[in-house]
Symmetry: C2
Subunit: 227 residues, 2 copies
């Protein structure tokens, strides 16, 4: 296509601007001691159910809040608010991903300085969110057992941009004949040594391991940050 | 972001160029009497399994072929080739959707003039493919019962850009407590009167209805096209 070189150039500018904003956000989160976790996955992988469970389990012990991105509706914010945690919806219109500026804007006038954890649920999309740093400390990529074990091979960029893989809906593993070994092998083929969790937000299976991991990451952050 | 107006302008040019190419493809398909069906859905909704079943069932009765888009791997082409139909993989790299020029390029030197049906499986993505006409006659949006009934409300654009909705993996409906009424209501809230099929490519349930519908569409095309 004739316009491709120009499009590439404009995209580079967008990415550069996003990186600058993300860096400022990261500095701010570090300074206030907030550990920021983002979640990416395809639509329907169970991000919202998993995040609702996470917020509900963490809330008695620490200060948590969430931002949630969708093209349309406030449904996810309403679902997450059932956890009792403060939640804000970001509606992107036709945009297929969150950008750092949207996070910055959503935080304006929101009293979240004292947070231990801020969670950011991205738009359901296994492609485009890979390219946008949101200033998070940890990016989780979710993959449900119903999606097929080959997804890491077919969407390698998003698995490479994430720090941890979470296999969700593990309670349905038998019903869909989920091949755990193949799924793990495919994730590690794309990203060798990637940290992996298997969870069911429905039955609670595997949530403890994952929450202990988050608590460890939070402790690391506080050791690194000069008080 | 400062670069937004420029990005919008460049995007408009890309869309315009795509529309021109798509129109030329559509004219060509009409002239040769090929009915073209594209499939969009989120990753893991079951596009490839559904398409393999479609090709296998149609092949004894008519001439069929398929193009399949993915960021990486030839896995889907290999799976679809098991149907015995001619299949070509389009690998998009980091691009989150197919464009008309990719279809045009993939068809070069491929003897598909005598086809009754050409199927195009898009990259798994419920957002970006909505904006790109591929010269198809019919666009199917697939939604699996495991994804949640709210997806049409959260990704309205892709449901609006499609002609028919196919609810897949209906064999798993009970295991995931799928709410059929809510799913149908949400699809029709976004696109009133949208034609709906419920299928299981695994058990074959609902495939007959859908194939009869395709045959009817093909007959309509031949009535309209002067021989």
């Amino acid at each position: 296509m004739n316009s491709e070189p120009r499009l590439l150039e404009v995209r580079k500018n967008v990415f550069r601007q996003n990186d600058v904003t993300a860096r400022a956000l990261r500095d701010r989160f570090r300074a206030q001691g907030t550990f920021v976790v983002s979640l990416v996955s395809s639509p329907g992988a169970g991000k919202t159910t998993f995040l609702e469970k996470t917020l509900t389990l963490l809330r008695p012990h620490c200060r948590v809040a969430a931002l949630v991105g969708d093209l349309a509706t406030e449904n996810d914010a309403l679902r997450l608010a059932r956890s009792g945690a403060p939640v804000k919806q970001i509606t992107t219109g036709t945009l297929c991903h969150l950008e750092a500026a949207m996070i910055e804007h959503a935080l304006e006038g929101w009293d979240v300085d004292q947070l231990d954890f801020l969670f950011i649920e991205n738009v359901g999309n296994l492609v485009c969110p890979a390219s946008y740093d949101l200033g998070e400390d940890l990016r989780l990529v979710l993959l449900s057992v119903t999606e097929g074990e080959d997804k890491p091979l077919k969407y390698p960029t998003i698995f490479n941009s994430a720090d941890v893989a979470v296999i969700t809906k593990i309670d349905l593993a038998a019903a869909v004949e989920f091949d755990e070994q193949a799924a793990h092998a495919n994730i590690h083929a794309v990203r060798p040594g990637m940290h992996l969790f298997q969870v069911s937000a429905k039955t609670g299976e595997g949530m403890d391991n994952y929450l202990q991991f988050l608590a460890g990451k939070m402790a690391e952050l506080h050791q690194k940050t000069p008080v």
